[in-house]
């Protein structure tokens, strides 16, 4: 089959960072596809630097390549300079593994983890030589697939994609492959595209937008309904029961050029039960599935030896919650078979002294900055968002970090949260000021960087009903913070552009009427919108207006209890009434304990699918489940399995 390398090579001399496009990474594969095999092109719709470390993409790449009847390669959005060269020379999007044209694959699959990349998805489809609208595609064109967290509301992209996969991809990727292989062997005749899509819609977890019709009554959505009786009314997410059965990636890709998170990454668990109400990832990935501690150790040890990395990140939504984390960390740091020093990083740190203790142990070699995410400035606000960190928890952690040698601290916050008042916003400045003050007891020039992002309500969270703050309101709050921190030595304030937050908000809870907007913005050159140098707020706002759509209606309006949401025909397992109740609790400032160690709230994520939390050890991590040291021995029915040994329902964990 064809490779474009000889045509691409002269173009690479003309572009920035040509090493992004050469492939050749350790762990990469050079498949020689045979007739009848199903080809997947896994594409990350952003630059190579951001896309390469994506674990989801690497896992599926390996799983597909292990099959006899399929092969997979990778692609990333070419930067604007190379895109220009490709278009000038009539060359298409290509894989970095063998530089094969994208249209030679049967499936063009995108990983979507952020809303601002939507125009890049269209650009990649077009650059592949595939019609951007699904209705214009013929049997010879690849199927366009979406996966990743943003797929829980794929409606804005409904016109452009053939199928959307909800939840974990490990199993469903093979089920899709089987159906597409049959389609190929039947010759992909005229009209067969509709057939294969009907067959794929039967696979649990697969949503085929073209088989559904969105009905509106005036500006309000009535619902998204299947067009045929055999198409499911509600598409349920997929969940792999046991992470221990999927020790992937087995051969993590080692990039030859600079990327973000350039280190060995080992996923220690999936899911999170802390129940932070703003956090879509936590809600949609329930229940918790921990990897057996021995497997973590093997993956770390083998991975370090194979890749030559001197750093490993233990990844998850909240790694300090991994039961037995201290032992895994100690074993890794002290492993005599490591060649030279190895550092461990825990990208998501809980705010308590216990985690600082771990951090001190693992960062013996390179003590860089330490990051905490209290997310809100006051205890009241943190009860609303259910991130139950007391001010004292934070001060304790910060003090112990300063006393153990750290000088620089980073604190992450959101502004524009439900019920937020000015004292809540100013609480951010107060926390930061107090943290620097604590630092002065230990060092001459302690520093705290405060990073503030505007809050965007996400589907399948209790905050999905909340009307997002306007751009001017967010600017006003940032202004308050700027004034309050201006004169405090040691506090640096950084904030995310409220205008970008607005566009994220449009996409996050939008419906199918946004398709033409996305297409128009893309046709006007609006790609790489998550890059500040290319972000074009005016283009978006004007395009919305030109299509007769109100930004205010999509973003700033509070939803009512009975309002139909554009994603109501999709399911992450969470009961809508659980989410509504949790929203009411938020407004009442009532926090909820972690359901992993306390009674089930019947959110639906475990009970609905007959799966349970799987943890590696029966002992809750030290420091209290929410970092507050609260009493967890309240008993009750805890749906927990230890290391895959299932307990009969109704028996509590010890």
């Amino acid at each position: 089959m064809s490779t474009l390398w000889t045509q691409l090579e002269p173009l690479l001399s003309k572009v920035q960072k040509p090493a992004r496009y050469i492939g050749c990474e350790d762990g990469s594969l050079h498949p020689h596809p045979r007739a009848g095999q199903v080809g997947w092109l896994f594409t990350y719709p952003d630059t190579y630097e951001i896309g390469l470390p994506n674990q989801g993409l690497q896992i599926l790449y390996e799983i597909v390549n292990e099959r006899d009847d399929a092969w997979a390669e990778r692609s990333y959005a070419p930067w604007v300079d190379l895109e220009g060269e490709l278009r000038r020379h009539g060359l298409p999007l290509f894989s970095v593994d063998t530089h094969r044209p994208a249209a030679e694959f049967d499936l063009l699959a995108f990983n979507l983890s952020a809303e601002l990349v939507y125009t890049n998805v269209l650009n990649c489809i077009d650059l592949a030589g595939v019609p951007v609208r699904a209705t214009d595609r013929r049997p010879e064109h690849p199927l366009v697939v979406l996966g990743g967290h943003c797929t829980y509301n794929p409606e804005p992209l409904a016109d452009f994609v053939d199928l959307v996969v909800l939840g974990d991809g490990e199993e469903v990727v093979s089920e899709i492959t089987d159906i597409v292989r049959e389609w190929k062997s039947s010759g992909r005749t005229d009209g067969s595209r509709e057939h294969v899509l009907r067959a794929l819609a039967q696979v649990p977890g697969v949503y085929v937008p073209s088989l559904y019709e969105a009905e509106f009554d005036g500006e309000h959505l009535v619902g998204v309904f299947p067009k045929h009786p055999d198409v499911p009314e509600v598409v349920e997410k997929r969940t792999i029961a046991d992470l221990g059965e999927w020790p992937y990636p087995k051969h993590q890709l080692v990039p030859l050029t600079e990327v973000v998170h350039d280190r060995l990454n080992v996923e220690v668990f999936r899911g999170c039960t802390r129940g932070c109400r703003f956090c879509q990832a936590g809600m949609i990935t329930r229940p918790v599935r921990e990897r057996p501690a021995d497997q973590v150790r093997d993956m770390v040890q083998g991975g370090l030896r194979r890749t030559g990395y001197d750093e490993v990140a233990l990844t998850s939504l909240s790694t300090a919650d991994f039961s037995g984390i201290d032992k895994v960390v100690a074993d890794t740091v002290n492993d005599p078979s490591n060649c030279g020093q190895v550092s461990v990083s825990l990208p998501s740190l809980r705010v308590d002294a216990f985690t600082v203790g771990i951090a001190a142990e693992i960062q013996k070699a390179r003590r860089t900055g330490l990051t905490f995410a209290p997310e809100a400035g006051t205890w009241r606000m943190r009860q609303v968002i259910n991130k139950l960190i007391r001010n004292d928890d934070l001060y304790g952690a910060v003090d112990s970090a300063y006393s153990q040698g750290w000088r620089r601290m980073k604190l992450y916050f959101m502004t524009g949260l439900p019920t937020e008042t000015d004292p809540d916003t100013l609480g951010i400045a107060e926390l930061a000021t107090n943290c620097v003050e604590l630092g002065r007891a230990h060092h001459k020039n302690p520093s705290v960087t405060v990073s503030v992002g505007g809050f965007v309500p996400k589907p399948f969270t209790p905050f999905q009903w909340f009307g997002q703050n306007t751009v001017s309101e967010l600017y006003r709050k940032i202004g308050l913070l700027r004034d309050a921190t201006k004169r405090t030595r040691g506090v640096q304030l950084k904030w995310h552009d409220p205008k970008a937050t607005l566009i994220e908000g449009i996409m996050s809870r939008g419906d199918r009427r946004l398709g033409p907007v996305i297409e128009a913005v893309w046709r006007s050159g609006g790609t790489f919108q998550e890059w500040s140098e290319y972000f074009d707020h005016t283009l978006w706002v004007e395009t919305m207006a030109a299509h007769g759509l109100s930004v205010d209606w999509y973003v700033h309006r509070h939803r009512t209890e009975d309002e139909v949401m554009p994603w109501d025909h999709l399911s992450a397992g969470l009961h809508r009434d659980f989410l509504w109740q949790d929203w009411r609790d938020a407004l009442d400032e009532v926090g909820l304990e972690d359901c992993r160690w306390t009674p089930c709230y019947d959110c639906g994520a475990c009970t609905g699918y007959g799966i349970e939390h799987i943890v590696a050890s029966a002992t809750p991590p030290a420091g209290g489940s929410q970092g507050t040291g609260q009493d967890l021995a309240t008993g009750g029915i805890v749906p927990v399995t230890i290391d895959g040994v299932r307990r009969p329902a109704g028996v509590g964990a010890p």
Partner: protein, 237 residues
């Protein structure tokens, strides 16, 4: 113990930058379980030093790297090392020679006095290229202005132009062979081409040798038989 390694940079990996290459070597040495010495201090780095940087996009037959092993490290089996390293390096980077060098030897940066290059020039004819080359060789000076730290600097490149020959036509131009000086500063092929009259445009460029001067004679930085471990003693001097 200090080792000197010669390696190639061919094909797709020619697009890797200097920093990329350094990181790849650090990881490769760990995977090869070579116990490299680390610098002291706040963030220790492995003690590696590379020779003259190669522009991104150029190929090479002869890149060099010096590395210090940790004092406690057992002496490696040198004869097996090139094969072992090549197997762990990306395609296009091959280790072609290894030997021990004395710590008192000048660093690679200081030792190299000139480099040999094969330079393809494009969008031209052999006749045109010959004209430009002849003019350059006949001229007593070859003045060239470049920007350096925001200031314009004019240099005479002629003393660095040790040899320049047309060795044949290519489908889109001609191939030149050049030897360019590197002391006190390095003359890069792109600068040379820009300074010619008429200037020539660069196609594929390949470094073929790096030379040092020893008792007035030009020789490579490693002896031809450098990989053979039994000659260690002779070369260490």
């Amino acid at each position: 113990m200090r080792l000197r390694i010669r390696f190639t940079k061919h094909g797709k990996v020619r697009f890797l930058g200097h920093r990329d290459l350094a990181r790849i070597w650090e990881r490769t040495l760990r995977r090869a379980e070579l116990d490299v010495a680390y610098s002291e201090g706040f963030s220790p780095r492995p003690k590696l030093s590379f020779g003259l940087a190669l522009s991104t996009g150029y190929e090479s037959e002869g890149e060099y790297l010096d590395l210090d092993l940790a004092p406690s490290a057992p002496p490696p089996h040198l004869a097996a090392l090139p094969g072992r390293l090549s197997a762990l390096l990306p395609e296009g980077i091959d280790t072609t020679a290894v030997c021990e060098v004395s710590r008192s030897e000048p660093s690679l940066q200081q030792a190299v006095t000139s480099c040999s290059w094969l330079i393809d020039v494009v969008d031209t004819t052999v006749a045109e290229a010959t004209d430009a080359v002849d003019r350059a060789l006949a001229a007593p000076h070859l003045m060239h202005t470049r920007e350096r730290k925001g200031k314009e600097v004019t240099d005479d490149l002629r003393p660095y132009l040790l040899d320049l020959t047309i060795i044949g036509p290519t489908p889109t131009g001609a191939r030149l062979s050049a030897e360019l000086g590197t002391q006190p500063r390095t003359l890069r092929p792109a600068e040379l081409l820009a300074a010619l009259d008429p200037p020539l445009s660069e196609g594929l460029v390949r470094r073929t040798h790096q030379w040092t001067t020893h008792d007035g004679a030009r020789r490579e930085l490693l002896p031809v038989d450098a990989t053979s471990a039994q000659h260690d003693g002779e070369r260490a001097s």
